[in-house]
Symmetry: C2
DNA sequence: CCCAAACTTGAACCTTGACTCATGTTTCAG
DNA sequence: CTGAAACATGAGTCAAGGTTCAAGTTTGGG
């Protein structure tokens, strides 16, 4: 897309043509997720990936042109998986505020299960900035649309329509930091507790009411 | 602090004993901020730093033990500068919500002036995680205290006191993402506009009122 | 079966850049 | 003034790890 080559090959390695090839590609990708997640981009070694995958060093280059290319493929992969996971959790929510709550809870639960998520997606900021921006821009776009729709349905407080986007970014930032603090750093509150508090904050607001 | 050595020397290079030394140290630190900010930790080169500073390669090692050490010193430095800048902007605010608004506006303005801030502090997550955590933990602690005090003064909506901390993290995440999007990525809204929208969000909430 | 394409292998190559150190210069306290 | 400590210099050392490649092995369509 934002890629000059644009082909599917460029996005997820070279397409294998045999069953063996497909299986190997999958193993290399999974090994890469482990290696990058554990050691970070720069400390990760191609030999680390191939050893985990149980293949020879050269095999890696049958599927990816470079270290950076696997990393990009991985980020896109996890970005997509995250969006899908949240979308599923939210599906069928009766209204926007309920959707927010379900989405946030699912998100925090998700990062607990896949701690390599942050290590990989956030590091993309410094290794493949275009993919990083694409990730959050995609997220923010969908989010804005949902807020706008809810606002037009009269489900949430009205406001200028130009506020949808900043609101979306604010909510995303909230989720990302809560995910980091309560999903990865320390689990002293459950995803549900965190989601309750955060959603109460943005639903009811801090202003005192009589 | 969290450092085994604990001395001031370990935090900001070796302490120079002459005027010339202090001047050189300052230039090296400034050069390092530029180099790390422009190229990121791993692409930054010590020779890049010393060239910018106009000193020989070896001089660097008169002041810092390693590449990682300057980086840590720099992160602490910028962390402190950020907190100070926000604290000054907030000083004398009549109430918490006003303080929030002023703080956020100041923060976004600050990152616009010093775009290397994100590049450096956020990359610390992958280069010196302890300093990164220290940065946000310090921020969150102060924030929580402020919220708790305001709550006890009856200035903001009441709630369980266990909510202060998650609320603080939510607000920090909001600020960081708004700073990234509207401070660095694109300046399509002014810091004041962004702050207005975001603070309205957490003051009034999204729930519709009759 | 058969063989061309697909895939696998791992030693060797090669760049890069952090860090050392022996030598020289500058500073400043006494 | 002076000499010892502080500071500056930059060529050389060294390890790490990404990438190449030529020689094999396996697969699958015809």
């Amino acid at each position: 897309m934002a890629d000059a080559t644009g082909t599917i090959e460029a996005m997820l390695g070279k397409v294998p043509r045999t069953e063996r090839g497909r299986k190997t590609l999958r193993r290399v990708l999974e090994a890469a997720a482990l290696e990058f997640g554990e050691r970070g981009y720069h400390d990760a070694a191609i030999t680390g990936i191939t050893q985990r995958a149980g293949v020879a060093l050269g095999t890696f280059y049958t599927y990816f042109d470079s270290k950076e290319k696997v990393f990009r493929a991985l980020v896109r992969d996890m970005s997509q998986a995250t969006r899908q996971h949240v979308a599923e959790a939210v599906r069928g929510a009766p209204d926007r505020l309920t959707a927010e709550r379900l989405g946030l809870e699912a998100f925090i639960g998700f990062v607990r299960q896949r701690r390599e998520l942050y290590r990989i997606i956030e590091e993309a900021q410094f290794v493949a900035e275009d993919v990083y921006r694409e990730h959050y821009l995609t997220f923010a776009e969908g989010y804005s649309r949902n807020l706008a729709a809810a606002r037009e349905r009269g489900e949430i407080a009205e406001g200028a329509d130009s506020a949808d986007e900043p609101r979306a970014w604010a909510l995303i930032g909230m989720s990302v930091f809560l995910g980091m603090r309560y999903g990865i750093w320390e689990e002293d509150l459950s995803p549900a507790e965190v989601a309750d508090i955060a959603i109460d904050l943005v639903s009811e607001g801090l202003r005192k009411r009589s």
